[in-house]
Symmetry: C2
Subunit: 184 residues, 2 copies
DNA sequence: GTCTATATACAGATAGAC
DNA sequence: GTCTATCTGTATATAGAC
C-alpha cells in the first residue's frame, strides 16, 4: 500500500467520522494532501471505492484490536471495558464510529458498501457475544449473550451520536455502567 | 400555518429521516410539491430555517404523544412500551428518528439547530426519567432513573441506526427486552 | 406567493498531456 | 502518478417581474 494512498485514507476517515461521507469531497481531500482531485481518482475511481476502502480499513483496525483484547487473558470486565474504551477514544475526538456515521447515510451507499457495513456490525456483535459466552460465569443477566451484545453495541453507537450533540459523555458513561450492572 | 408550508415540512421531514438533511435539496423538494425552488425559499429563506422548523415540528409532535402517554393512567410497562412503539413505527418505515439523523450531521448545522436538537434529546430523557421516578415501585434496577433513561434512549437511537443497515429489527427488540428486564 | 432568470459555488468524474 | 482542462450536474441563494 502506497504511502500516499494511506495518507488519503487517514484523512478521509477522519473527515467521515466528523462530517460524514457526504461531507467529504475529492477536492478538499486533495487540497489537504497537496495534490489535485483527479489524482485522488487515480487511487479511488469512484467515491464508493473510497468508501469501500475506508470500511475495510476501519474494520481491520478494529478487529485487530478486538483480537488482541480477546487473546490477552483477563476478566470479562477488563476485556469489555477495553472494548468500550475504543468508543471513549472516538468520543474524546468529537467523532462518531466511522461505520455508525456511514450507517446514517446508508441510503446513498452502494450495495457493496452496505454489505461491508452490515458485516462490521455483525462482526462486532459476534466478538462481544463470544466474550460473554466464554466468561458466562462472570455474568448475572437474565438476557442472552447475543442480546446483550446487540444491546451494548447499539447503545454505544447511539451514545456517541447523542453525546456529541449535547457536548457531554454522560450517555457513554451510562452505557458503561449498564454493562457493569450485568456482572456478578 | 399555510397548507403549502405544511406539505413542504411533511415531505422534507420524510426525506431527512431517510437521507439526512444533506440529502434534501430545495430543488427536489420543490419538484415533488410542484413549485419552484425559489418559492421554497419564500417559506424558508435558508436551509437552516427549514431545519429549525423541522426540529420544532418534530419535537412538538413527539412531546404531544409523550404527554398523552403520561396522562393516561397505566403501568410503567405499558407506558414505556408505548414510548418504544414510536421508535418501532419509525423503524418499520426504514427511517431514523429525525433528530437522530440530524445528530449525525451536527457539524454542518447552525448553532440554533444544535441547541434545538440538544433540547429534543434532553426533553425525551426528562420525560422518561419522570415516568421511571413516578413508577419507582415497578422498577428493580440498581441504576438510577436518570441513567436508565439515557441508556434506553441512546440505545433506541443506536438500534434504529444499526438495524436499518442490517435490514432487521433485532436490536430494537433487544432494547425493548432490556427495558422489560428492569421491571420487577 | 410564485415565477423566470441568474449568480456563484461546488460536486463527481473523465480525457489526455507529461 | 500527477497534472491541466473540462464536462456535466447540482447545490444554495437572490433579484425582480407578475
Amino acid at each position: 500500500m502506497s504511502d500516499r494512498r494511506n495518507k488519503l485514507e487517514d484523512l478521509a476517515q477522519q473527515v467521515v467520522q466528523q462530517n460524514g461521507l457526504k461531507g467529504l469531497s475529492f477536492r478538499t481531500l486533495a487540497d489537504e494532501i497537496g495534490i489535485k482531485s483527479s489524482s485522488v481518482h487515480y487511487y479511488f475511481p469512484e467515491k464508493s471505492d473510497l468508501a469501500q476502502a475506508l470500511i475495510a480499513r476501519y474494520s481491520e483496525t478494529i478487529f485487530e484490536r478486538l483480537e488482541a483484547i480477546a487473546k490477552n487473558p483477563n476478566t470479562l470486565q477488563k476485556k469489555v471495558l477495553a472494548f468500550i474504551a475504543i468508543f471513549e477514544q472516538v468520543a474524546k475526538d468529537e467523532k462518531l464510529c466511522m461505520c455508525g456515521m456511514m450507517a446514517a447515510e446508508v441510503e446513498s451507499l452502494s450495495t457493496a458498501n452496505r454489505d461491508a457495513l452490515s458485516d462490521f456490525f455483525s462482526g462486532m456483535e459476534r466478538w462481544l457475544t463470544s466474550q460473554l459466552v466464554e466468561h458466562a460465569e462472570e455474568l448475572s443477566s437474565q438476557l442472552s449473550p447475543t442480546k446483550l451484545a446487540k444491546i451494548l453495541i447499539s447503545g454505544l453507537e447511539g451514545a456517541l451520536l447523542v453525546d456529541r450533540v449535547a457536548g457531554t459523555n454522560q450517555r457513554l458513561k451510562a452505557q458503561k455502567e449498564l454493562f457493569l450492572s450485568w456482572l456478578v
